[in-house]
């Protein structure tokens, strides 16, 4: 009886682990870095996380968790609530449906796929924000953010891969 409770707790912790890691990264993303000229730039950790887990273990970051990550991201970032959530859910849906094509693909291809997704997401966010604000907003910060996010992908993916290995070892 006791062991089954621990087993249960272990299972819960395991399912929550990628989500917790993502939320921690989101919090890290808004710490002021005080680097000149870099203040308005913020990497899209949420996008990296959703792409990675949708591709490698969609069961461990299910759609409701993606929704929650999106809401938190919009809350932290003072963005119009819902826009980021919508973009993340669409990315999640597309990647989960396409993940068979990526199975066994070299990392460079996965990274290229992420670059395409990040560019698409930045473009979508730019269009939706322009519509919401009723004016054409400056796209340059979005382009810069997108480049930074794509550049950070290998490092964050490595972190997630370690987390994932830790999970399967306990299986």
């Amino acid at each position: 009886m006791k062991s089954s409770l621990w087993h249960h707790l272990d299972l819960v912790a395991r399912t929550l682990w990628p989500f917790t890691l993502t939320v921690l990264l989101l919090i890290l993303g808004i710490v002021p870095l005080q680097i000149p000229h870099l203040a308005p730039v913020s990497p899209g950790f949420a996008l990296i996380s959703v792409y990675y887990w949708a591709l490698h273990r969609p069961t461990i970051l299910p759609a409701p968790a993606v929704f929650l990550v999106g809401v938190l991201n919009d809350f932290f970032g003072d963005a119009p609530v819902g826009v980021g959530v919508l973009v993340l859910l669409i990315v999640y849906g597309i990647i989960v449906s396409q993940r068979r094509n990526f199975l066994g693909a070299p990392f460079a291809l996965v990274w290229l796929g992420f670059a395409a997704v990040a560019a698409g997401a930045a473009f979508a966010a730019w269009v939706i924000s322009s519509l919401l604000f009723g004016t054409v907003v400056d796209p340059r910060p979005a382009i810069f953010d997108c480049l930074l996010t794509v550049g950070l992908y290998p490092a964050v993916a490595h972190l997630f891969a370690r987390a994932q290995r830790g999970l399967s070892r306990r299986d």
């Binding site: 890290l28 005080q34 999106g70 963005a79 609530v81 819902g82």
Partner: protein
């Protein structure tokens, strides 16, 4: 037994895929609903957002300390490199400022005397609340920041936010122990200002770039690059005369302003609690919040 399990799996997996797709569609619908709710009634969203940010503000507070420490060390190294130049410049500045000090003393005394003669109503007092910056925005289309002062410390929505250099923005959201500042460069920021030299009124509008522009300036205004921009105090929310920035370019396509505040190196801010009695009093005599 094995084949039985296989057939179960064959039967169950489309069902599972279908339910997953249904969940995804439902959540996409929910996110659109959130968007509409945010547009229609932002009070609920605002409260929730403030509560969530409040909950993580202690974590941010701890995390931002070592970062600012590291930034300080880097800055110290940079300062050591041009100590000599800086020293010479400061000597020059000091000589010039001493002259200004005597001018200012004289003007202050004169001003005081003239005010007494005219029996002018004194400006309301402003109270300052100091707070640490613990978070920047996480998005390319907003310019805002989180600070450690909240409702319990006297932070209220609409207060002006200053740094040592000048006006930085206004408080846009207040939680119990944290508040969010809308920077003057944000696309939603509108600040009533004056061109200090010509006394012309205008509205400083952010556009997410580092140089906001002036709206509603009279068509033949004599505004030229180098003119100082200060808050006008119209609307009664901000004290008048807070330094905002200098005009960086003025031409056919509008007037843009270079703010005094360089947001990338701000660690502490002051919220200005400006008591304007009379106008903002509710019928019961209490200040509405």
């Amino acid at each position: 037994m094995k084949s039985h399990a296989g057939s179960m799996l064959r039967f169950a997996s489309p069902l599972k895929a279908w339910s997953q797709r249904f969940t995804l569609a439902l959540l996409i619908g929910a996110s659109v609903a959130l968007m509409l709710l945010d547009r229609a009634d932002s009070i609920i969203i605002e409260r929730t957002r403030a509560a969530v940010v409040d909950a993580i503000s202690p974590i941010l507070d701890v995390l931002s300390r070592p970062v600012s420490g590291a930034a300080e060390i880097l800055e110290n190294v940079g300062e050591l490199a041009n100590l000599r130049e800086e020293n010479a410049r400061l000597r020059e500045d000091r000589a010039r400022l001493l002259q200004w000090q005597s001018v200012a003393r004289e003007l202050d005394a004169q001003n005081q005397a003239l005010r007494e003669l005219l029996n002018l109503v004194p400006d309301p007092r402003a109270r300052f609340i100091s707070a640490r910056v613990i978070g920047n925005t996480a998005g390319p289309f907003v310019r805002s920041a989180l600070v450690t002062a909240g409702y319990r410390d006297g932070a209220r929505k609409g207060q002006a936010v200053m740094t040592g250099e000048g006006f930085a923005g206004r408080v846009s959201e207040v939680g119990r122990r944290s508040a969010r500042i809308l920077l003057l460069t944000d696309i939603n920021s509108r600040i009533p200002v004056l061109v200090e030299r010509t006394r012309e009124r205008a509205v400083l509008a952010g556009d997410n770039t580092n140089s906001p522009h002036l709206l509603y300036l009279p068509p033949n205004s004599g505004t030229t690059p180098g003119d100082r921009i200060v808050t006008s105090g119209h609307g009664g929310i901000f004290p008048p005369g807070l330094p905002v920035g200098v005009v960086s370019s003025a031409g056919e396509d509008g007037v843009s302003v270079q703010p005094f505040v360089d947001w990338s190196r701000v660690e502490y801010v002051r919220l200005v609690d400006y008591e304007l009695p009379g106008i903002l009093l509710s019928p019961s005599g209490h200040r509405p919040d």
